[in-house]
């Protein structure tokens, strides 16, 4: 019996003490993203945040009409809830949940970064996930535009961070730094996490029992994404930023690998479901580029992108909780008041890559070549530090 307990503890340690390697995240994210796609709603984060923002403004009376998407069960909302819940539960299982305060300047950066990301994600048709990762996988040309925008935005954002370190003396936080809590709290966390996951699975079962099968599938997939992303600390910001900051390209490799896997699966699904070809191809060219730049600056300020802000909020980091809120609110406002259909139409058209290349084959080749090129340039930089700015 004691051997069993020992082995269990050992396994638990592997899963929840140490972080999982990034390539595990790359593969599992591609698979879970494919499940979302197969369920009819590809993975995204900004859409769900907008639903939250819509409901907040509706509840305070700014919006007269009730939002079209339900707060809980609409597809975009449930994907983002699932991500948050999965990351929260995973942080509990890993004894990593704690409300973590931050100095005022950091909180301000979270606030401003959230606004930038909210606005940028409206222009690009999604955050780093919906506008870049899932978009490229789905064959949307705008995904490549956003990729360029994100790289430029990350460079600008990093320049600012370097300026800040030189010119703004960081005030040491008042002694109220992160309270990890006492030993007892840490011991209780895994049990709370376990109860929480049982609750989530029960909830999904209840949903499917009442014929809400699609939301149930999407929620379980999103919870899985939340767990994986928290355990790997899978971070899209790192993939864009770190080559310029520390030279490290491990996150870049992981994201590039994940995109290549995703595009293979997405295109297979789209091949068999011709009526789904235009799913997730509604973004615009220039919107992706400009939105990507704005979003890229925002994610550097906040230290988290769409998915990264949500999972870190699930760990209890105040800076990212604020970023998620201002992301949701600004996205909702910008979408409803600024991004009128006439304005947006001037920013380009949706293009499905296989339509331009005359079939799926060359679309896959082009996507893979772009990703491998990104990988190769950053791997070269890892050796030479030629692009490293810091």
């Amino acid at each position: 019996m004691s051997v069993m307990v020992e082995k269990f503890k050992e396994g638990y340690g592997v899963l929840f003490d140490r972080n999982w390697p990034l390539w595990v995240g790359a593969i599992v994210l591609a698979l879970l993203g494919a499940i979302c796609m197969a369920a009819g709603r590809p993975w995204g984060v900004a859409g769900g945040l907008r639903v939250w923002g819509d409901w907040i403004f509706y509840s305070i009376g700014l919006y007269k009409q009730a939002p079209g998407n339900a707060l809980w069960l609409s597809n975009p909302a449930i994907l983002t809830w699932g991500l948050l819940f999965g990351a929260f539960g995973s942080a509990l299982l890993s004894r990593q949940f704690a409300f973590r305060p931050a100095p005022p300047l950091e909180l301000l950066k979270g606030l401003v970064g959230g606004v930038f990301m909210g606005v940028g994600s409206v222009m690009a048709g999604g955050c780093n996930v919906g506008g870049f990762y899932t978009a490229i996988a789905a064959g949307s040309v705008s995904g490549f535009a956003m990729m360029v925008g994100l790289l430029v935005g990350a460079l600008i954002g990093l320049k600012y961070l370097m300026w800040e370190i030189e010119h703004l003396p960081s005030k040491p936080p008042k002694q109220r730094t992160a309270k990890e809590g006492g030993r007892d709290w840490k011991k209780v966390q895994p049990w709370l996490g376990l109860i929480f996951f049982v609750f989530l699975v029960g909830w999904a079962y209840g949903l499917s029992y009442r014929a809400y099968t699609q939301p149930a599938v999407l929620m379980l997939a999103a919870v899985g994404i939340g767990v994986v992303i928290q355990r790997c600390r899978f971070c899209f910001v790192r993939s864009f930023r770190d080559p310029f900051m520390t030279g490290e390209a491990v996150a870049t490799r992981a994201v590039a690998l994940s995109v290549i896997l995703s595009v293979l699966i997405f295109f297979t699904i789209k091949w068999f479901r011709a009526d789904w070809q235009m799913i997730y191809i509604y973004h615009h060219w220039i919107g992706g580029l400009v939105g990507g730049i704005i979003f890229g600056i925002g994610m550097l300020l906040a230290g988290g992108c769409g998915s990264g802000s949500v999972w870190r909020a699930g760990e209890g980091q105040w800076k990212l909780i604020i970023a998620v809120l201002t992301f949701a609110l600004s996205n909702s406002l910008f979408k409803n008041y600024v991004w009128t259909s006439k304005f947006a139409a001037a920013w380009g058209k949706p293009y499905f890559l296989p339509d331009l290349t005359g079939g799926y084959f060359w679309a896959i080749v082009i996507t893979a070549v772009v990703m491998l090129l990104w990988w190769a340039v950053m791997a070269w930089n890892e050796e030479t530090d030629r692009l490293t700015m810091v």
Binding site: R100, A102, L161, I165, A178, C235, M245, G303
Partner: protein
């Protein structure tokens, strides 16, 4: 008590990714080889990021110590 005596202490408490690494990189630039930098941090990501960083930079991560509500990492400049 501290197993290593730092030549400089970097307070990164309350800061989240990427600020601790960015500040560490900058602080190490101002040290001489062999000198020791103590980085006090609260971000759960630092425990991952710092070893990866020092491995590339050629500095040596000596180890870590639990402080009161934070973790101290000790890095020897290479």
């Amino acid at each position: 008590m501290a197993q290593w005596t730092p030549d400089e202490v970097l307070d990164c408490r309350g800061l989240s990714c990427p600020m601790p690494i960015l500040k560490t990189k900058k602080a190490l630039k101002n040290l001489k080889p062999g000198q020791i930098l103590e980085i006090q941090g609260t971000d759960p990501g630092t425990r991952n990021d710092l070893p990866a960083f020092t491995q590339r930079s050629g500095d040596e991560l000596l180890g870590e110590e639990q402080g009161d509500g934070y973790i101290s990492f000790f890095v020897k400049k290479g």
